[in-house]
């Protein structure tokens, strides 16, 4: 080693030259091969999680083939991001920031607002205006939901999800408890208290606490909030309503659920809280009711799912969400994951071709079946394999009347505050009312005083 270094350093010029050459070579390696106008185009597509990526691997060649037949030379390079959601969001955000963004990316629709307001996404409004399918076939509710605060469209639905209560009708029947649709919160609580009394196990799951991340808000909190008369956001003033009677009601309900012993608390405090609850207690029949979505039929409890349940359709059925007052019931419906094009893409037209292809016919039908989702378009009911899945088509039928919550700037901070507040309630550290105050303070802290108001 000594003699080698001696030789190099004896001639500083030589060393310098070597260093420069090394750097030049590495710089050359990193030079982008930009898309040539008019030549073959390579698009990059970023996705994550196994069933989605596997499906893309299988079907993307079909896209390339279809494009060839139209006389276009487009190839797609599939990139797989980290499987875990937080890791993926970090990676995608850093990618967008660094100018190294994939041409097309897919993510949960709640992420759209942040990416859009940060200027990372391509404005798709002119494209969707040209695309007849958009107005003709995509459900209006979903189209409206995806319009961003600036009035433009930046994402296209990949699928649609209905979220509601899934319950073990076989357990209720054997316990002699009514399986009729619960109309009000009290009704639901009463019935689940009976179940818990019989079994000694927590029987109802509304996600709560910090460990579940976004799930606490999107799979738990919001479905209660939508059952009150209060709103979370004032669209006219563009402010979050961080204190309202409805909000207090929701947290008080969480308190009631916890005190009645009906909610499973321990699992909610540990990482991957959906495992002991939805993947273990529910198939076992200890957990009798839980919020879940269309994906649960396939992704969670289907034969290839994480925790298959035998005789799924005999044992499990669905309820709509009750409201506090008991006046009506509802389901939640929204687009699940979406497709977006990077604002920095060098090939916007080709990228749009890809997105259109992914948001139509064959691919969309296969995607819906692979992940367990409904179609966001009304014209896929006869397309195989989707046409074989009754329960998915049923879910699709519920879309037009479903309720949802439009993601707005600052949603991630509300999600954070909700996670913390519900954690206080389920651990018994605060009462519902105290938690509501805590939520208001925390949300104000995170969002800034100018962006909040109270009722």
């Amino acid at each position: 080693m000594a003699s080698t270094s001696k030789r190099y350093l004896r001639r500083p010029a030589l060393t310098l030259a070597v260093t420069l050459v090394v750097m030049a070579v590495t710089a050359a390696c990193t030079a982008d091969s930009g898309g040539d106008g008019g030549g073959p185009v390579e698009l990059t597509l970023l996705d994550h999680q196994e069933p989605r990526v596997e499906l893309l691997k299988k079907l993307l060649p079909q896209f390339e083939q279809d494009m060839k037949e139209q006389g276009k030379e487009i190839s797609v390079k599939l990139l797989e991001g980290p499987a875990e959601d937080t890791q993926f969001t970090t990676k995608l955000t850093l990618d967008y920031n660094s100018g190294n963004a994939p041409d097309v990316a897919s993510f949960g629709n709640s992420g759209a607002v942040d990416f859009a307001t940060s200027g990372f996404l391509l404005d798709l409004t002119p494209m969707t205006e040209e695309w007849t399918d958009w107005d003709d076939h995509f459900y209006e509710q979903l189209r409206k939901e995806l319009v961003q605060p600036d009035g433009k469209i930046y994402v296209v639905p990949r699928e649609a999800q209905i979220v509601q209560l899934f319950y073990r009708k076989d357990v209720l029947q054997s316990d002699g408890i009514s399986t009729a649709q619960p109309q009000s919160w009290d009704d639901l609580l009463d019935r689940m208290t009976q179940v818990t009394r019989e079994s000694g196990e927590p029987s109802l799951l509304f996600p709560a606490g910090e460990a579940w991340g976004g799930g606490t808000f999107f799979e738990g909190f919001i479905h209660l909030m939508l059952g009150t008369d209060s709103s979370l956001y004032d669209a006219e003033e563009s402010k979050w309503i961080v204190a309202s009677p409805g909000l207090t009601d929701v947290l008080t309900y969480y308190e009631a659920l916890t005190e009645a012993g009906v909610m499973p608390v321990d699992p909610l405090l540990n990482p991957e809280p959906w495992v002991p609850t939805k993947y273990e207690a529910f198939p076992k029949g200890d957990l009798v009711a839980t919020t879940c979505g269309t994906w649960c039929w396939i992704f969670d409890w289907g034969p290839n799912g994480a925790a298959p349940i035998d005789g799924l359709f005999k044992k499990v059925s669905t309820w709509e969400f009750p409201t506090k007052s008991g006046e009506d019931t509802f389901v939640w419906g929204s687009s699940g994951w979406v497709w977006a094009i990077s604002a920095d893409t060098e090939n916007p037209e080709e990228a749009w071709e890809l997105v259109k292809w992914l948001a139509s016919g064959d691919f969309m039908a296969q995607n819906a079946v692979a992940v367990g989702a409904a179609s966001p378009r009304d014209d896929l009911r006869n397309v195989k394999p989707y046409s074989d899945y009754d329960f998915l088509i049923d879910a699709e039928r519920q879309l037009p009347k479903a309720r949802s919550f439009v993601s707005l700037p600052g949603t991630d901070k509300i999600v954070q505050a909700v996670g913390e507040a519900t954690e206080q309630v389920i651990t018994g550290r605060m009462s519902g009312e105290e938690a509501a105050e805590f939520l208001a303070e925390r949300a104000t802290e995170l969002l800034g005083e100018d962006n909040v108001k109270t009722l």
Partner: protein, 298 residues
């Protein structure tokens, strides 16, 4: 050492020093200063402030100091540093080294062999160290540690759920203990023999030798090492992040992970910078003391 003399010398010195100083200045010093500047803004990577960050004065700091999470994180880190760096790596390592080192009246065989083994925990990269321990502390009954305590009749313990911080501390002790031992043994064996022998002649017991001769002579080295490992341990990220990602919940969220989360999970660069600045303040405080210890080495 020759005094700089005339413009040729000055030029040489400057030319020789420049590349290193530019490198350090640009990527170590400048970011530290930039952190200070950025901590006064609300820069974020997403959302509205991504496009137009604005100056918010000391808002980030008031928020940070009022943030229970930050203090919890700081406390956790101090405990982590205390138990793994100070007690584990320095104190234990020194005592064990004392037991093993060659000194008048005491010689063990095979120390060099052991020394090779002891270097391994520190030699491997953080990520691999974390990975190997992930297997050891696996919470099911086939986890290595669980198997051992299973033999004694105790149930499988979910180490990373129930005792996350303790586990992580032990991993860090494992990481540094052995190497620290090796270093201390070398230092102990470098002591002037005649002083020790003189002490023995005077009838000093082993304990007295240790207390009145060995430690005072080695005091600077011990302190130096203590400072160094304290400083490095404060800045640990990969070892813990790989194993727990700060979880469960915030249980192992040491300051390094807290900063990372603020900056790259919540994308609040301004806020993350403020936390970074506070960490730097602590580290530079310790660092100044360290530098003072090293003065005579310069």
């Amino acid at each position: 050492m020759r005094r700089v003399d005339g413009w040729r010398d000055t030029l040489t010195v400057m030319a020789f020093l420049a590349p290193a100083l530019i490198l350090i200045g640009l990527f170590l010093v400048w970011p530290a200063l930039w952190a200070l500047y950025q901590s006064f803004t609300n820069k974020a990577l997403t959302g509205l402030t991504a496009m137009n960050p604005s100056f918010v004065g000391i808002d980030n700091y008031t928020r940070l100091l009022a943030d229970g999470d930050f203090f919890a994180s700081l406390l956790r880190t101090v405990a982590f540093v205390f138990f793994s760096a100070i007690v584990g790596q320095t104190l234990f390592a020194f005592l064990i080294a004392y037991l093993m080192a060659n000194r008048p009246g005491w010689k063990l065989r095979a120390v060099p062999v052991f020394a090779v083994i002891f270097v391994l925990p520190l030699a491997v990269p953080e990520t691999v160290a974390a990975l190997t321990w992930a297997s050891m502390v696996n919470g099911t009954e086939s986890g290595f540690i669980n198997r051992i305590i299973g033999v004694l009749g105790a149930g499988p313990i979910q180490w990373l759920q129930d005792y996350a911080m303790e586990t992580v501390t032990i991993v860090n002790i494992w990481r540094g203990l052995s190497f620290a031992m090796v270093l201390f043994i070398a230092a102990l064996e470098g002591l002037p023999r005649d002083v020790l022998e003189a002490a023995m002649v005077d009838g000093a017991s082993a304990w007295q030798q240790l207390r009145w001769v060995t430690i005072p002579i080695l005091r600077p080295q011990i302190l130096t090492f203590l400072m160094l490992t304290t400083i490095t341990t404060f800045g640990i990220f990969g070892l813990v992040y790989f194993l727990t990602r700060g979880g469960p919940g915030n249980a192992t969220e040491i300051v390094g992970i807290y900063i990372y989360k603020q900056a790259f999970q919540f994308f609040e660069i301004g806020y993350g910078s403020a936390a970074g600045v506070l960490l730097l303040a602590i580290l530079l405080g310790l660092g100044t003391y360290y530098v003072r210890l090293m003065r005579d080495q310069v």
